[in-house]
Symmetry: C2
Subunit: 566 residues, 2 copies
């Protein structure tokens, strides 16, 4: 009995050794130090009481550890979902109100449900809807929105009533009325964070630490800052002078099904789709960086992330996703098994049970500084620069998504980005490359007449089609063939070389039929050559091949020989 | 002066000769005989007073003749737009009411505006959004809807209050209460039309006519039927016993800008898009059948069809498009220049000025018979059958669109169809075909190891990628490469053969970068071979080629030789 039970344990647990335990424990401690300030900050960014960020890091992280495929992946509140949540809930309730808090949990519930549904339907391919430039443009736009939304609390300004990029005007107009104490604390914290991001690892390295350790230690800066600020406010008795986190309820979250009503569900469905899509794409892309040579099982990740969101909903918290910085800390400090995440969960539970009082005097301006310093890292101009140099259409998709997020908001921005990607895809495929080819003298190879010195014939026209043939490009293909025939009026045979054509859909088949009839009426014979095995199998299920005067030639050379080029 | 003016005339007018004139005149007379009953019928189908169909055939046809590119193409009311108009206007006003008539003109105005806009933006490629199966499924679904909507007037039943396929239940329940006189006249007319469609040409041929003439003459059947029915009702004094067309205003339409208000525009925008898209796709596909070896200038057709719709709007009529049957009659009877259409317009004007009284006693049941007989021709099961055999995904797109039209209505149906086409496109491209290849012994050719007996090496892995590399399939490609590497753990070099890859987008470039880094960490070198000229030009704008250890090989054979296969 016992051996068989042992054999049922997951492989990592059976092979668990002391050195793995040491890595997991170090990773958990490091992750805890990063999770606490980030969780408080991102809940505040979402317009929620900061302690809900801790709730969203507890059960969700445990559920992901159990169901997910990546030991080092840390799930919980993240900056992008914070701003998505804030923008989705803004029209529905006052930030911080009871309705607002319930709506955040319902958003997590819906997102979790969608993710589970997609996972059960094995729709992991959905992640492919977002191209890399569109995802990068979206995250960058969200980064700018996050910075704009956090400038007022950072500087002690009134919150802007406008949305999107327009907030900048309000902020600029109010700069004079900043609260000096808040601005000093917030601005100072931001400065320390920004300087420490690059400077601290170098400094620690100069002091003799090895680079990985220096990097890891510098990641503790936010926690250090939080503790310093708490102590400072406490000692100086500044509580009354600036907005602070305030009393946090101590104890673990009580689990409950969030109060759902139909109109709320309907108005949150679209935001939940955005949360699910963004969360999933982030999850996959972080998992792929962590995985080594393992494949990432997209459907399993969907289910695990869905479970995590449901867990957050039952904890009364907010949507969650994989955090890049916390996952990186896990990986860097040696997390090798799901126990690393479970240790973090245990430590977080201890914080919630006994240490919440520490954060009572934490100034909100410090949280804003932490958020802004993270958001700056989201703005990914490198992808834009590369895309601009490499493929202008991809750069346009980046800019369109980025601009869409800033001008039209989160949801419209991502919809615009997906639309732009699809439009680009269709537009490019609708302009197929078709080359007139001829034989390279002395060989059996056929090459583009524009790029090579080749042998052609008056009575034979060889066209190589370099694209899938489908409904989106049949007219363009027809036109190019018409042009080529007009510029060689002596042609008696038209040979289409299909070596690069991996698909011919029903619309294109129809086009080939009518092309054959058209040409027959003008005394020109249509032939196919170099047809791929799969395409040939499919064509055999139509009657096109019977209507052609010859069977498809195996090569252009065979066609040239058999048709007797003059 | 005069010679220069002469030279400015269009070529067809300068070369006009008597035999061309004869063809144009015959075509115009034939087209007139077909246009009058169809125009009356399709306006009735749209829920409008029948004479508006004649209005919609006058100025629009003239404008198309002036601006359009196809001499034989006949523009005016068509069955599909009749049902699109009826379904768009049903929620807005009572059929036949003043508001309804105004809304029909506004729909034509909006459609015309959209078509002109698309033409000016040179968006002729838009026609490619509709694949052949989706267009066929849509038209077939519309055909069924048309038949359902015309059964009550054909049989003298009360109009069904349900919409879509549900009407069938009402019709079945009411069959007992059919008006015998109406049903006899309607059913008899339908029978005659259906029999004459196939039988009459054969009969006339047996009587000694040449097949083209027999076909042409049988096209006069609807007009003959109309005149017979008119005479019958007149002689028997049946006016009071069955619904008839009633008094038609005589004279030409007076031109006026339709009364537009913003809420109306907003609620008609989506239907107008459908009208524009369908109208344009029909126009192009009819034009391509008529054109011979000329190319169809899609942008010019957009502008001409837009002008025609604006003309219809200013005449107070309804949306117009190219009619397949009337264009075919034009072509069969020898229309060679735009004068054919202009002669039809002149003759129609005469009818409107002096002969409208003829149609006063025309029973509506006869118009329904004409509509149904045309609608049966719209149901295109042949395309479904071919698609089913040839490409299951295309057949699904047909069925989805057809079912969508019947269940959800016109607009949702076409949206569903377009969505299905795009989804199919992405789904297929997201499952790229990747083959492990080896060299055919004694040659320099590389072929799929699964299909051919080829030579492979333990240290070399050759993968041929048979699809565009883009954001939609990078993960699948990564997974396939991972699998192939796992099944050949001795591989030291991975050579990707890109002869069929016509595009690598920024997302795929990113994937190749990270693949290269991954492999480097595992001691495997990544190489490219057979890269296309255009793709190579693009890759040179990135730094991928610098990071690879070798320049792309010209052929797989070169790679095998230089990398030293073991």
């Amino acid at each position: 009995m016992v051996p068989s039970l042992y054999r049922r344990l997951p492989a990592w647990l059976r092979q668990y050794r002391r050195d793995i335990f040491a890595g997991d424990l170090l990773a958990a401690s490091m992750a805890l130090m990063l999770t606490v300030p980030q969780a408080l900050a991102y809940a505040a960014l979402a317009g929620l009481p900061p302690y809900l960020g801790l709730y969203a890091s507890l059960l969700p992280l445990a559920l992901y550890a159990v169901f997910g495929g990546q030991p080092a992946l840390a799930v919980g509140p993240v900056a992008v979902l914070g701003v998505v949540t804030a923008s989705a809930l803004a029209p529905l309730a006052m930030p911080g109100s009871m309705e607002y808090i319930v709506a955040a949990a319902v958003l997590a519930l819906l997102s979790g449900g969608l993710l589970m549904l997609f996972g059960l339907l094995r729709l992991g391919v959905l992640a492919q809807l977002l191209s890399h430039p569109v995802a990068s443009g979206f995250i960058s736009g969200a980064g700018v929105l996050i910075i704009l939304s956090q400038l007022p609390p950072l500087l002690g300004l009134a919150t802007s009533t406008r949305s999107g990029a327009l907030q900048l005007f309000d902020i600029a107009a109010q700069l004079g009325s900043a609260t000096p104490l808040v601005a000093a604390l917030g601005g100072g914290s931001l400065l320390v964070l920004l300087l420490s991001r690059r400077g601290l690892p170098r400094l620690l390295h100069a002091l003799g630490l090895r680079p990985p350790h220096a990097l890891l230690l510098s990641r503790l800066m936010p926690m250090l800052l939080v503790l310093l600020a708490v102590a400072l406010v406490h000692v100086r008795q500044w509580h009354g002078l600036l907005p602070v986190v305030g009393a946090l309820p101590s104890g673990l979250p009580s689990l409950a099904w969030p109060a759902v009503d139909l109109p709320l569900l309907r108005s949150l469905l679209l935001p939940a789709l955005v949360v699910a899509l963004i969360g999933f794409v982030e999850n996959i892309s972080i998992a792929q960086r962590l995985r080594g040579d393992q494949n990432v099982d997209a459907d399993r990740e969907l289910l695990a992330l869905g479970a995590a969101n449901l867990g957050s909903a039952f904890s009364g918290a907010m949507p969650v996703a994989a955090s890049f910085s916390r996952s990186a800390v896990n990986a860097e400090s040696g997390a090798r098994t799901p126990l690393a995440n479970l240790f973090t969960v245990l430590a977080l539970a201890c914080v919630l049970l006994w240490f919440t009082d520490i954060f009572r005097t934490l100034p909100l301006a410090v949280l804003s500084a932490i958020i802004i310093s993270a958001a700056i890292g989201l703005i990914d101009l490198r992808t834009l620069r590369h895309a601009w140099r490499y493929d202008r259409a991809d750069a346009m998709a980046w800019l369109g998504t980025f601009g869409g997020v800033l001008v039209f908001g989160i949801e419209a921005g991502i919809a615009l980005g997906i639309g732009l990607s699809l439009a680009t895809l269709i537009w490019q495929a609708s302009r197929p490359h078709i080359a007139v080819v001829g034989r390279v003298p002395g060989t059996e190879h056929f090459r583009n007449v524009l790029r090579f010195e080749v042998k052609t014939h008056d009575n034979l026209l060889f066209l190589r089609i370099d694209e899938v043939l489908f409904f989106g490009n049949v007219r363009a293909v027809e036109q190019r063939i018409g042009q080529a025939l007009r510029s060689q009026p002596t042609a008696e045979h038209l040979v289409l070389l299909l070596s690069s054509v991996s698909r011919i859909d029903a619309t294109a088949l129809e086009m080939l039929h009518s092309l054959n009839n058209d040409l027959a009426g003008r005394g020109i014979k249509l032939h196919l050559a170099e047809v791929r095995g799969m395409v040939l199998d499919q064509l055999k299920r139509s009657d096109l091949l019977e209507q052609l005067s010859t069977a498809p030639f195996l090569s252009a050379f065979e066609a040239e020989v058999k048709l007797g080029g003059k």
